[in-house]
Symmetry: C2
Subunit: 343 residues, 2 copies
């Protein structure tokens, strides 16, 4: 029972075609698709059969125009090749799929007021139902402040004084745990190889590290600032370890820790016998570094998932504008072989 389609003149199947075939009106087809319980089972079956026979696919643009809702969520994210943003994005996408949402992404190479604004504008004109912003930079905060507060926006891993729901990992707590772990092994104090200045996470980890040291009245060494890359871990590491006093280093992520381990090996300093190293992230490769890396595991997928849930809440309760929720995921210290008792 193929349709007599003259090739070259194929017109996309529209709702009216289905209606005709099923012997009903277009409106009934629409109802079958959106609220089937309002259509008598016999009619419904006929319509569904017609839908299948014609391989009908509703036109989302028309639906959006008529309803004002698109079923698409926008994500504005920083460099999606980084482990954190990529995993978060993946978590969001999985959650979205479960709830029949689609994801439109804008990935930014630079995060500031201008680029964020542009990204949000692009998504807005696509009629997204809401926007999740993965904005790990502090300068991003300004860009967020002048967004219209009536927009459904959820923020991931940003400063916590923004007027939007927020999902993030407790970076501060993770840094505290990492630092305490090193102190508990007998190290007099802990050096910190931090992330770049502008990053919220980097800042929070610095604060956690500092607080943990102060709480036990240890000296707070000067902080060394990297850029997340293994390369910076290596180069800065070579400088740090010239000082024989340095026996415990907390690197702000696993990549820098890897570079640091490399520098230590080249310098002939043994890990963990002479120097202990802790990372942050727990990338899948961390257990296979030399030596296997003690690090702080953060579950980015879970963060993405929670960000999506926050968005769903926000969409379903649009009146709750003044109710910015927080969903904080706790990180977990994973002890491996890069840390040991000082002797």
């Amino acid at each position: 029972m193929e349709e007599p389609k003259r090739p070259g003149e194929r017109r996309p199947v529209v709702m009216e075609d289905v209606a005709e075939r099923a012997g009903v009106s277009a409106m009934t087809v629409s109802r079958v698709l959106n609220s089937p319980e309002k259509v008598r089972p016999a009619t419904r079956a006929r319509v569904l059969a017609a839908v299948k026979e014609l391989d009908y696919r509703p036109n989302a643009a028309a639906r959006v125009l008529a309803t004002g809702r698109s079923g698409v969520l926008g994500v504005v994210s920083f460099d999606t090749t980084l482990y954190g943003p990529a995993s978060t994005l993946y978590g969001i996408e999985r959650a979205a799929r479960e709830h029949d949402y689609m994801i439109s992404i804008v990935s930014l190479g630079v995060l500031n007021r201008k680029t964020i604004g542009e990204g949000v504008d692009r998504l807005r004109s696509q009629n997204v139902d809401g926007i999740i912003i993965v904005a790990p930079h502090e300068s991003a905060a300004e860009g967020l402040r002048d967004l219209p507060p009536d927009l459904a926006i959820v923020v991931v891993g940003a400063a916590d004084d923004l007027p939007f729901p927020l999902a993030s990992v407790d970076q501060y707590g993770g840094a505290v745990r990492a630092t305490r772990h090193l102190l508990s092994l007998g190290h007099g104090t802990v050096w910190h190889l931090s992330g770049p200045a502008d990053w919220v996470d980097a800042h929070a980890r610095v604060e956690g590290w500092r607080a943990a040291l102060l709480a036990e009245e240890r000296e707070v060494p000067e902080m060394i600032m990297g850029d997340w890359s293994a390369q910076s871990g290596y180069q800065l590491g070579r400088q740090i370890i010239r000082d024989p006093e340095v026996t415990a280093i907390f690197a702000a992520n696993d990549a820098m820790a890897l570079g640091l381990l490399r520098a230590l090996r080249e310098a002939g300093r043994r890990v963990p016998e002479e120097v202990s190293v802790v990372g942050f992230d727990d990338v899948p490769e961390a257990p296979y570094f030399s030596p296997p890396l003690t690090t702080v595991r953060q579950n980015f997928g879970e963060v993405g998932f929670r960000a999506f849930r926050l968005m769903l809440d926000r969409i379903d309760a649009p009146d709750a504008e003044a109710m910015p929720h927080r969903r904080v995921v706790e990180p977990e210290l994973v002890v491996r072989e890069s840390t040991g008792v000082l002797r």
Copy 2:
């Protein structure tokens, strides 16, 4: 000159509002936005001013409905947390942004006929102008074969006998280079720690490796199959290196090479003095492995970029259905310290 907006009754600004404010018709506003050269400069300026004053943002859904083109590209991708897919995606996104396209993604945890079909359907109903499929699995090929050939589809890194334009890296050539490099260092033959069975790239690398060995009439050792993870590299590595004959190993990606290096270290086999290791990918961390990894660099970003260009060609020349183009990016051997002359 703020609009007298009664709160709670804010209606989105539409084209007609702008037209009224500028004292022109809606059509003129449309023209200013889409083909400004057809409007007299003075009028254009007035319209643009009105656009800015009202903060007007065109409704994409309405435009799609009227034109049939959305300016959105769909991407169906496998697990976007993996280095390859994530980098490719990023490349696509950057290229798209330059050309004012948006990207809608569907990331799949499992790649087969069913999931690919669903992903494509979801994107199709979103009126995407085209779909880029990042389909590194062989079983994905079947899923691709029964897609309507009139759809604008571009495939990344899949089998090369599909009726779609294709962008990929010359995996075979990369594997040949890696293997030859090891042979040139004096190793009698080269073992291969491959990627999982179903992957196109894994298969091509196996073929390249085998061909390089056969070309120099070397014995072809049994292939060991991993799953891309550092963990599998470690576990399988422990078995391989029990055999003292094994002096040169080509791992199908950097993560497995890392696991392998770890296994070698634990077994007390020195790299590269006793065993040489080559990876594949050149992840940013590879130079900081212990020892720094010799590997084959593949430029995923470039692949994404070319995939986008292919899509643009396809969209602009819709008649060229029977002209599947190929864009193959050549990988590059990067020699570091994990390979050395056998002695």
